[in-house]
């Protein structure tokens, strides 16, 4: 009874993954029958002589740090506000969740429209400097545009995870703290936050692994440009394999991406789980 599931998984995930590991030691253009074994030459190239991969690595890491931090702080803040007993909270939650049900590729295109046509009009109406900047053309600014769009799209999802966590916090504990005269800020950091650490672990884990493999939004918003300013590792893999037809080299990059995500998330999980136990 398990065979069909096992076959599907092996065929479409695990065998291709193992093949990618093998191909990462070869020179292969994806079409030829001839696959030439070249040892660790691909790995040596991506570590030393490929400025594209280096900059993709730096972009991805910086992007991950900023996107994960912003996403989780804003989502947690929203969750705390919309967990309180206020009128219309369900409609408000639904509103903030909406961008999350739209495909990332469409999100990128919508924001390309906003950054180009929309900001022109906002600028003409308000004469504010922020709208006159080139949010997709400026080599430095575009980094923040990509972060902004990513955070905008994803906070709804993380808000929902945090709300689910907040609902497990026993009311008595909060009320006891209120009676003891603890202020709202203290209450949040000393009681609520330690109690919802499992949700923090989950949310940070997901935002981390999604940020490290970010692809779709960049594909439609900037396609990695201008130049290579917003080329993430995943997009770099795509371009190496399917634009430059260097399948072997692209496979080496994809193995590096796998190891990077594995290392970062395992480190995060162990670090966060340890604190959970203490709390």
């Amino acid at each position: 009874m398990t065979a069909p599931a096992l076959v599907a998984i092996l065929l479409f995930v695990e065998i291709p993954f193992l093949m990618s590991v093998l191909y990462s030691f070869t020179k292969w253009n994806g079409l030829d029958k001839a696959v030439k074994f070249i040892g660790i030459a691909n790995y040596a190239e991506l570590m030393t002589t490929d400025p594209g991969f280096g900059s993709a690595m730096i972009f991805t890491l910086l992007f991950t740090v900023l996107a994960v931090a912003a996403t989780n702080v804003i989502a947690l803040l929203l969750a705390v506000i919309l967990d309180a007993n206020i009128r219309g909270k369900n409609v408000l939650r639904a509103a903030f969740y909406i961008p999350n049900i739209i495909s990332l590729i469409i999100i990128g295109y919508v924001w390309r429209f906003i950054f180009s046509r929309g900001f022109d009009s906002f600028g003409a109406l308000t004469h504010l400097g922020v709208f006159q900047l080139s949010w997709l053309g400026d080599f430095h600014l575009v980094f923040f545009s990509v972060v902004l769009v990513t955070v905008w799209q994803s906070i709804g999802f993380y808000m929902v995870i945090y709300i689910a966590g907040l609902q497990t916090v026993p009311r008595e504990q909060i009320e006891a703290a209120v009676i003891d005269g603890t202020g709202p800020v203290n209450r949040f950091f000393r009681i609520t936050l330690p109690l919802i650490l499992p949700s923090v672990t989950v949310a940070v884990f997901y935002s981390l692994s999604n940020a490290l493999k970010t692809f779709d939004v960049i594909f439609s918003l900037t396609f990695g440009g201008p130049g290579t300013a917003t080329t993430s590792i995943a997009l770099d893999i795509y371009k190496t394999a399917f634009s430059d037809s260097r399948f072997g080299y692209g496979s080496a990059k994809s193995v590096v991406l796998f190891l990077l995500i594995l290392a970062v998330t395992v480190f995060q999980l162990t670090a966060f789980k340890r604190r959970e136990v203490q709390a």
Binding site: A5, A8, I86, Y109, Q167
Partner: protein
């Protein structure tokens, strides 16, 4: 066990002010999407002169343009077909295997379980290159059916994991009863066990359907070239990929592409939120 009565409690001070501020924030937050709706009803020159202004007159011309340019009915059916076929396959494969692996307690079954859920740690981008090659060799490329089959392999691990955990809450007595009554194992599963797994099934359907409907990269890699087998997300890419974008039609195209997902969300909102949280927390 009503959560709303358990929680809730007093309304905090200034509740009304919070509601008003949050409503204003939500409107600003969703303003990009509101602009898409407004501009989908404008002419090209109206968009170029001012994005914020409302259309001078309502016309559905952009929608009919986008409708024909995208060959909407055709692509809608394609996307629906991939989503349904992929999701149905994942539910079927994952529920059976998850049940079986949860019930058999041998070292061998534990190993199979690990092999089945390991892909949750493998990002798609690190095996997509070889996946395209395998798909080509199996003649699964340029076909909507082929794409649906590939989704089985990609979707099963997380779903199997969710079923595997939930099956433990179903008493084994039920399996025994069914087999004493002369049920074949497969029939016992479909008639007795699967209905009890319904909460997971809902989550699994929601997670997989939303993902497959919105997925872009796999269809791009697998369906490249063939014009008649395309999904809506690929059509959006073609719209915006042009050098000179016809914004008015593109905006209408965006709305046509996202409306089915929005309706799905509005109808099944509670299940979707619950399913997404379940998938995240258990995954």
């Amino acid at each position: 066990m009503n959560r709303r009565t358990l929680r809730g409690g007093r309304r905090p001070r200034g509740a009304l002010a919070i509601t008003l501020v949050m409503t204003a924030l939500a409107l600003i937050y969703l303003y990009p999407l509101i602009l898409v709706v407004i501009n989908s009803l404008k002419t090209f020159s109206e968009i170029m002169s001012n994005v914020v202004a409302l259309p001078s007159r309502l016309n559905g011309e952009n929608f009919s343009n986008a409708f024909t340019l995208m060959r909407y009915p055709n692509l809608f059916l394609n996307t629906l077909l991939v989503t349904c076929m992929g999701t149905a396959g994942v539910v079927l494969l994952a529920s059976i295997a998850g049940f079986k692996l949860s019930r058999t307690r041998t070292r061998y079954s534990w190993l199979v379980f690990l092999v089945c859920v390991a892909p949750m740690m493998i990002p798609f981008h690190s095996f997509m290159i070889s996946l395209v090659k395998i798909a080509r060799n199996l003649h699964l490329t340029n076909s909507i059916w082929g794409l649906g089959v590939i989704y089985w392999g990609l979707g099963v691990p997380l779903s199997l994991f969710m079923y595997h955990g939930f099956v433990k809450t179903v008493p084994t007595d039920l399996d025994d009863c069914a087999s004493i009554d002369g049920c074949s194992p497969l029939r016992a599963f479909f008639q007795v066990i699967l209905p009890l797994l319904q909460p997971v099934t809902v989550s699994v359907i929601v997670i997989n359907a939303m993902w497959m409907w919105n997925d872009f990269l796999l269809p791009l890699l697998v369906l490249s070239g063939a014009k008649k087998s395309m999904t809506l997300q690929l059509a959006a890419y073609n719209f915006f990929g042009q050098y000179k974008i016809e914004w008015q039609n593109a905006m209408a195209g965006v709305l046509l592409t996202i409306t089915p997902a929005i309706i799905f969300y509005l109808v099944l909102q509670r299940h979707i939120i619950k399913g997404m949280v379940a998938g995240a927390v258990k995954g």
